[in-house]
């Protein structure tokens, strides 16, 4: 029989193909030009009003700075607004004629042969049950398409804690057996974790990349249907000039109140924004790091990530790799598409605000690093330089907003406490009378609010016009859900603003950070919330007290920002509660189509009876030592015996572990033991021969009694 892995991809030096027949570039340029004009015009008008609103009409340095900051922030909001409007219009017109997914008929796609594809799941200290249930669901879904033979799954672990990676290995073995997935489900653990996730994928490519034409990169919480995976490969087969095809994953499986709000917002407003974004980017989209298919050969040839050669933040490994890889793929002449119409692509939200902000800490640093690439990298496409700018601005707007608030406070303080300056300009012959028109300010505020909230109402209209009513429950509950979501997003905005500002400043000063795995299960405790939110709460309390002392009107203006910060800790705790999230769901609020309709793909993911938490009371390390079958599995995955020096150290550690138990060893020492084939075997033999009153003997007897 032929080796299914024999057909190697990319052995010959391929040339970059010419663009396909679809001439999307002029369309993209036109759309971007229209967007730029709209944003600039709107920003100029808003800035003009801002100048009018200010008492000295931009006549001093503080006011000039206020106008400049306002213009930047307003332009940013305006980009989001018009993106949503573009999306709404295109969806109302029956979709984008230049959409990637529309290029080929169902029949043509069905008749397109597949090519070998690796499905990569890089993991790092993820919840084992959820991660492997997701992999199992994708595997079974692919199996149902009858095309499984073209796909291999590679679980690429970077986990360091032996109790995590041993549990991963045990779960991998169990699913290999259960799914009869031998030769299609692989597991590799890196012992040297260089360059985060991109290093993990690069390590895979160096060893096994030549086996595959394509790779589909997933996150630990990703779920995609087999049909979508097959369709993506066929699209790539038909469009050789495409390097990356990115799906638009939607959030699922939200349990806590926080995650349910994120899920609802993503599911409800997301289609508008993603349709708009895709229509503007067309073939110069970006890669989001997961739920996407990539052409392996050009990726290997062009997307290696050098360390940044600058100083401070701009020196060392690139932390946010995905945008950079897309930019390099674009530079090599390949197209990158984001296709919102590819269905059944899912991911999960962080369960709590604390988790989201922890994740943002590394994203902030990663995105700010892109500044160097944006400015100095050679031959990148303008669209990708702008994508870098977009990513940077996602977080840089926070300190800009904070600066705007600080300047507003200074301006108000000057007006209240200092004498009026009739000649703010040194060369003015005539006095300038400071004017304050609250009605103009309210008008400007109203205009800005319209830009923020109109997309939400367009989304309601879109849902009403497009979706069957059952997708989101009845109209009353849908309206309440939208109002609740708006209120919660207003509560969270100042908290995110202040925290992101802290992260941006920390990143610019290059404060070190740890790249930890994401928590996907636990609720936030009061102590954790208070410690996390204390700085913001104290700053907001002091600011609002000052505003109250200064001027009652200013105090009232400050409340929408200060109150959410003052109550950040209770908000964080309350929103992290699963019971609150589930109560909202029972009331029919914040529901999404996947919860109201039948989605068999997700049944396996959510069924916690599959791979439940261990009830043996033993750690994964103890199971690895005691269980004869698991011990064999771990031995098979472990290293061969090492040199004498290492063996001496291992021997000493093993004796200590056997005599005093695993609790006296640290994770690194346990990892050393569990990584060595001979040691694992010897420990297993010793434990089964040990007396019942020894530390390992009592563990074994306890395990036998529970069985």
């Amino acid at each position: 029989m032929n080796d299914p892995h024999a057909g190697l991809a990319g052995e010959a030096e391929s040339t970059v193909p010419v663009n396909g027949a679809v001439r999307w570039r002029p369309v993209a340029m036109l759309r971007r030009a229209v967007l730029t004009l709209l944003v600039l015009a709107q920003t100029l008008v808003a800035a003009y009003f801002m100048v009018s609103v200010l008492p000295y009409h931009g006549g001093n340095a503080v006011e000039k700075s206020l106008v400049a900051l306002f213009a930047i922030l307003f332009a940013w909001i305006s980009v989001g607004f018009w993106t949503a409007v573009f999306g709404f219009v295109l969806r109302r017109c029956g979709g984008d004629a230049y959409s990637f997914a529309r290029r080929h008929s169902v029949e043509r796609l069905a008749n397109t042969p597949l090519a070998r594809t690796a499905i990569l799941i890089p993991i790092y200290h993820e919840p084992i049950g959820r991660t492997f249930r997701g992999i199992r669901a994708i595997y079974r879904s692919l199996q149902a398409t009858g095309q499984l033979e073209h796909f291999d799954f590679h679980i690429l672990s970077d986990s360091r804690d032996p109790n995590v990676w041993l549990a991963e290995q045990a779960a991998w073995f169990r699913f290999c057996k259960e799914l009869d997935a031998e030769n299609h489900l692989f597991y590799r653990r890196r012992t040297v974790n260089l360059r985060y996730k991109s290093g993990n994928v690069a390590d895979f490519l160096r060893r096994w990349g030549r086996y595959y034409e394509y790779m589909i990169v997933l996150d630990a919480d990703s779920v995609m249907s087999g049909e979508t995976l097959v369709r993506m490969v066929r699209h790539m087969q038909l469009e050789p000039q495409v390097g990356i095809l990115q799906t638009n994953p939607v959030l699922i499986n939200a349990r806590s109140a926080f995650a349910r709000f994120q899920q609802f917002a993503n599911r409800f407003y997301g289609p508008l924004f993603s349709a708009g974004l895709a229509s503007l980017q067309l073939g110069e989209a970006v890669f989001w790091g997961h739920n996407a298919i990539l052409r392996v050969d050009p990726f290997i040839r062009h997307c290696g990530l050098r360390e940044l050669p600058g100083i401070g933040l701009f020196k060392g490994p690139i932390m946010s790799h995905d945008f950079v890889e897309a930019a390099y793929m674009g530079r090599a002449g390949y197209e990158i598409w984001m296709e919102p119409d590819l269905p059944q692509s899912y991911e999960e939200s962080p369960p709590t605000l604390v988790d989201e902000l922890t994740r943002d800490r590394r994203w902030v640093k990663g995105n700010l690093q892109h500044l160097w690439l944006m400015l100095f990298s050679r031959k990148l496409r303008l669209a990708h330089r702008l994508a870098f700018l977009n990513g940077i601005m996602s977080y840089l707007t926070s300190p800009l907003w904070l600066a705007f608030l600080v300047l507003t406070s200074i301006e108000t303080t000057r007006l209240v406490l200092w004498p009026i300056d009739y000649f703010p300009s040194e060369y003015s012959l005539f006095p300038l009378w400071p004017e304050w028109h609250p009605e103009w300010a309210i008008g400007l505020l109203g205009g800005t609010a319209l830009l923020l909230f109109l997309p939400k109402f367009l989304a309601i209209l879109d849902v009403i016009l497009v979706h069957p009513r059952r997708d989101y429950g009845n109209a009353g509950r849908l309206t309440i859900s939208v109002i609740l979501e708006i209120l919660v997003s207003m509560l969270l905005a100042p908290i995110r603003m202040l925290t992101h500002s802290r992260y941006v400043i920390g990143s610019l000063f290059n404060v070190s950070l740890t790249w930890a795995g994401q928590n996907r299960t636990d609720e936030t405790r009061w102590r954790e919330a208070i410690i996390n939110q204390a700085p913001g709460t104290l700053i907001a309390a002091a600011w609002t007290a000052f505003a109250f002392w200064l001027k009652p009107m200013f105090f009232i203006w400050s409340l929408p920002v200060s109150l959410p910060l003052i109550f950040a800790a209770p908000t964080s705790v309350f929103l992290s509660r699963v019971s609150v999230g589930q109560r909202l769901r029972r009331l029919g609020l914040l529901v999404v189509p996947e919860e109201l309709n039948d989605f068999p793909l997700l049944d396996d993911v959510l069924d916690e009876r599959i791979l439940p938490p261990s009830k043996t009371g033993l750690t994964a390390f103890e199971e690895a030592v005691i269980d004869p079958v698991l011990n064999r599995v771990h031995r098979e995955l472990a290293r061969l015996p090492r040199n004498d020096k290492r063996r001496g150290r291992l021997h000493a550690l093993r004796n200590r572990c056997m005599k005093e138990g695993p609790d006296v060893l640290n994770p690194r020492e346990l990892s050393l033991l569990a990584s060595d084939r001979e040691t694992l075997e010897a420990m297993n033999r010793t434990v089964w021969s040990s007396t019942p009153d020894s530390c390992w003997g009592s563990r074994l007897e306890d395990r036998i009694m529970r069985d």
Binding site: R210, W688, D707
Partner: protein, 84 residues
């Protein structure tokens, strides 16, 4: 009441066989008892250890089919373009 070393030894043998995938049967239990009985004939000292050493010699365990964790490595280098 505290268990005797022989009871512990028998429990270990049965657990080992069960966890190794040997189906529970009267015959299997009889063989386990036989191993313990013969070890007891040599005295109580180190009974569990002697029984567990004897076990693989007396009972053939079903072969565990271990899946392959990875494909054979076929190395390739990544392309790194200069920044400037």
């Amino acid at each position: 009441m505290a268990r005797t070393p022989a009871e512990y030894a028998l429990g270990r043998v049965l657990a080992w066989l069960r966890w190794s995938g040997v189906p529970h049967s009267p015959d299997m239990t009889r063989q386990a008892l036989l191993i313990v009985e013969q070890a007891l004939a040599d005295g109580d000292a180190d009974l569990i250890s002697r029984v567990m050493q004897e076990l693989p010699r007396r009972i053939a365990l079903p072969e565990i089919r271990l899946p392959s964790a990875a494909l054979p490595i076929r190395r390739i280098s990544l392309g790194y373009a200069p920044y400037l």
